[in-house]
Amino acid sequence: MNRFAELLDRLAYEPGRNAKLRLIADYLRRTPDPERGWALAALTGALTFKHAKAGMIRGLIAERTDPALFSLSYDYVGDLSETVALMWPLDPNQKSGSAPTLTEVVQTLSTLGKAQLPAKIARWLDGLDETGRWALLKLVTGGLRIGVSARLAKTAVASLGNQPPDEIEILWPGLQAPYLDLFAWLEGRAERPSTRDPAPFRPPMLAHAAEKSDLARLDAADYLAEWKWDGIRVQAVAGRDQHGELVARLYSRTGEEISKSFPDLLALLRLPCAIDGELLIMREARVQSFNVLQQRLNRKSVTSKLLAEFPAHLRAYDLLAEEDEDLRDRPFATRRERLQALITRLSDPRIDISPLISFKNWSDLTAARADPASAGAGVDADAVEGIMVKRRDAPYVPGRPRGPWWKWKRDPMIIDAVLMYAQRGHGKRSSYYSDYTFGVWSKRDSGEELVPVGKAYFGFTDEELVQIDRFVRRNTVDRFGPVREVVHEPKSGLVLEVAFEGLQRSTRHKSGIAMRFPRINRLRWDKPPAEADRLETLESLLTQREHATMPTVGGGNV
């Protein structure tokens, strides 16, 4: 457990993806079975024991420490698990080497009754060091947030056998912790585990971003085009198990199973198939904005009220398999015909096919991209993120092959904002001020002032980063820890052109507005801050969107 704790500790501080991969792979290589398998399960979120409540942890520490000292400490540290891990008194009777293994912890937690839990956790805490206690408490309370996705952990495990990560994704649904067969195969000690999963994930095909010049070189007649919808890309799969029962699953683009969150979509998969599509929220036959979908994603428990208020919908792009037939090597045009036929047979209002955009040449498509509403998207135009251009004869190839698929996004929204605060980055960027808070003008009681509307830490080139960093260091007016306030007056300051994908209302921001996917588009050294945009500009953009896509939101419209 102490080794696993050290890994979690390193991962929690390490910002770099490659460094995280190395740390995980190194741990998996050095740690024996079954310990490493349980660690992999913990990192991929595959552990399913019932979590301990914070109240129980508080109870344990209250029995062992002075309440005044606990309260001073908790106040200073600000995190319950961490405070308890650090304050936990040493048991003088404890022999060294009595730290529990992760295997023991996981296996005990899945069988132990609620009544015995506190005593057990206390015994484990007695045997661990500070980091070990922290990791144990995070694990048992279900608060293991260390910035590692299941995909990243699977990529790390794949590297043990020099396999592509998608190989692990394909096997994953058929595997079980502690994954002895997986490690044996990766280390060349056994055959590849056979997958008899009736509803496996298939690595998705992805598109390259296109500029108009990319398309100009292509013959429009070879391609089909459809809308790129602003939801979440999913794979909906159903198949029969050995008893002939239909098993249905929903996967995210990275292969994580999200079935539990969308029981309403699973219900429509009544025939064996594998559909690639977009998950959307549909109300009164209109696609809702991403903001609405996000509201459903943010809810933890899936209640019938939630299902009714945020009805999920699958807009299908592609058909990868039907019954036992793998369709991925067929041409796209053929797969689409099969998809259309399947959807007709399913005959369910919760699924439809993403319509094609009719065009004869690239200028037709340019016009459609500029005005999706008049080009067939109609009332759903605001949920269009761009256009997908796909070769008619292209097979479905996992990964991001260059050529067969292009995504041509709509132009982002753009505003000019003023740099207000800069914060130092992490890792490679720890000597650079690379996280920027920017604001726009607004009339307040005290007069014209800048209100922060967002934060961005990418979009600029390395050279621009050096320039902004220099500007920040030379124009600092105040410091708060790693944050510097930089000059932001009407006549002096730095104007940033910020691009973003959307806006939503937010109670967490002083401005009342939050941006989606903001990034620095350009540095406007030429522009005086006084000429930057105003909050009213953002508000009017937001109001337009609300009126366009959510006419009925807000009135208990179930």
Partner: protein, 343 residues
């Protein structure tokens, strides 16, 4: 006689009226007894300074030859008569030459501990327990969450990281006096035999440690090294240099920081550290409370840090306890940064 008749806390430090001296004064005084060389305790400009030879040497290296009107070196355990009081210096285990100062007057014993730690450190004399009636303690880490555990384990963590990320430099922030040399010595004790690189600001002190026969192995200056040479190396620098333009010369550095503050995650994250190393030259909570108990003191004065929790603990143990509000003690680094800002 009351303790307050021997030592009076003043805003500029503790003053011994019968002996006519101050301990670690923060403003220039006639006669100063200095516990150790960190700049928040040892300042230039006093009339006479009494300290260990090492502390005097360190002050000279930092402030130049004329840092005081006159100086007197005092050995550990030597008793010095000053006016109506006697004073002696005893190892504090904090940094090279650091001392606790014991003052006795009419049979009443007061120990001003300065900064101290009661764990092993290969670069300085081990902390000595000095029985007393009144114990003046620091409280830098005076909260029960500060448990420094095993410094050797932290060195192991650093070495495992060096082994894993061989193509990167490991940049270790450490205070220039004491921590830097302790980290180097511990790396040597753990078997690391590669050259270790240091920032120019710690060169003088490090060479001084080496001259006092503390074996630090091969220590090179970053200044003379090229980028390729620094791959896979451990580089020790003042904490402020991590976020400085200076750090850009390193190949994709892993940023570490050796400090007791690294025990608390929020502090480590705020610093932008990716490899926090809990290595402290101050006593942790267990060290503070164990030392207070062992001195047998019935009264405890708390100078600087997180006083509240320690005062509460003392009172719960029926010890008389009071905070001393002395302005100007704190982190060695804060004092250095302040000096930098003033310069």
């Amino acid at each position: 006689m009351r303790p307050e008749d021997i030592l009076v806390p003043t805003p500029s430090g503790v003053c011994c009226k019968p002996g006519g001296f101050h301990i670690d004064p923060t403003r220039p005084v006639e006669k100063a007894l200095i516990t150790h060389g960190h700049s928040d305790h040892a300042r230039a400009g006093h009339g006479a300074v009494l300290a260990t030879q090492e502390t005097l040497d360190i002050m000279r290296l930092r402030y130049g030859d004329n840092f005081a009107g006159s100086i007197q070196a005092v050995r550990y355990g030597e008793i010095v008569k000053l006016g109506g009081a006697t004073a002696s210096f005893h190892p504090a285990g904090h940094v090279l030459g650091s001392a606790q100062i014991r003052v006795e007057c009419n049979g009443l014993r007061v120990v001003a501990s300065g900064d101290y730690k009661n764990v092993a450190d290969p670069t300085c004399t081990q902390f000595e327990l000095v029985p007393c009636d009144v114990f003046i303690t620091e409280a830098t880490f005076g909260l029960p969450v500060f448990r420094h555990h095993d410094a050797a384990g932290e060195i192991g963590k650093l070495l495992r990281s060096v082994e894993l990320f061989l193509e990167r430099a490991h940049l270790v922030g450490a205070y220039s006096l004491g921590k830097a040399q302790r980290v180097i010595a511990m790396l040597r004790a753990a078997g690391h035999d590669q050259p270790i690189y240091i920032h120019g600001a710690m060169e003088t002190i490090t060479r001084y440690y080496q001259s006092r026969t503390i074996d630090l192995g091969r220590v090179e200056l970053v200044r003379g090294a090229n980028k390729a040479e620094l791959c896979g190396r451990i580089v020790i620098c003042p904490p402020s240099a991590i976020s400085d333009l200076w750090s850009r010369r390193f190949p994709d550095p892993v940023v570490a920081f050796a400090s007791g503050w690294m025990r608390v995650r929020a502090r480590a994250r705020q610093r932008g550290v990716t490899l926090p190393l809990v290595i402290s030259d101050h006593a942790d909570w267990d060290g503070l409370t164990a030392t207070i108990t062992a001195t047998g003191a019935s009264e405890v004065w708390v100078t600087h840090g997180q006083e509240d929790a320690l005062l509460h603990w003392c009172r719960a143990k029926s010890l008389k306890a009071r905070p001393l509000d002395i302005v100007g003690y704190g982190d060695e680094e804060d004092a250095a940064a302040q000096a930098e800002a003033e310069a």
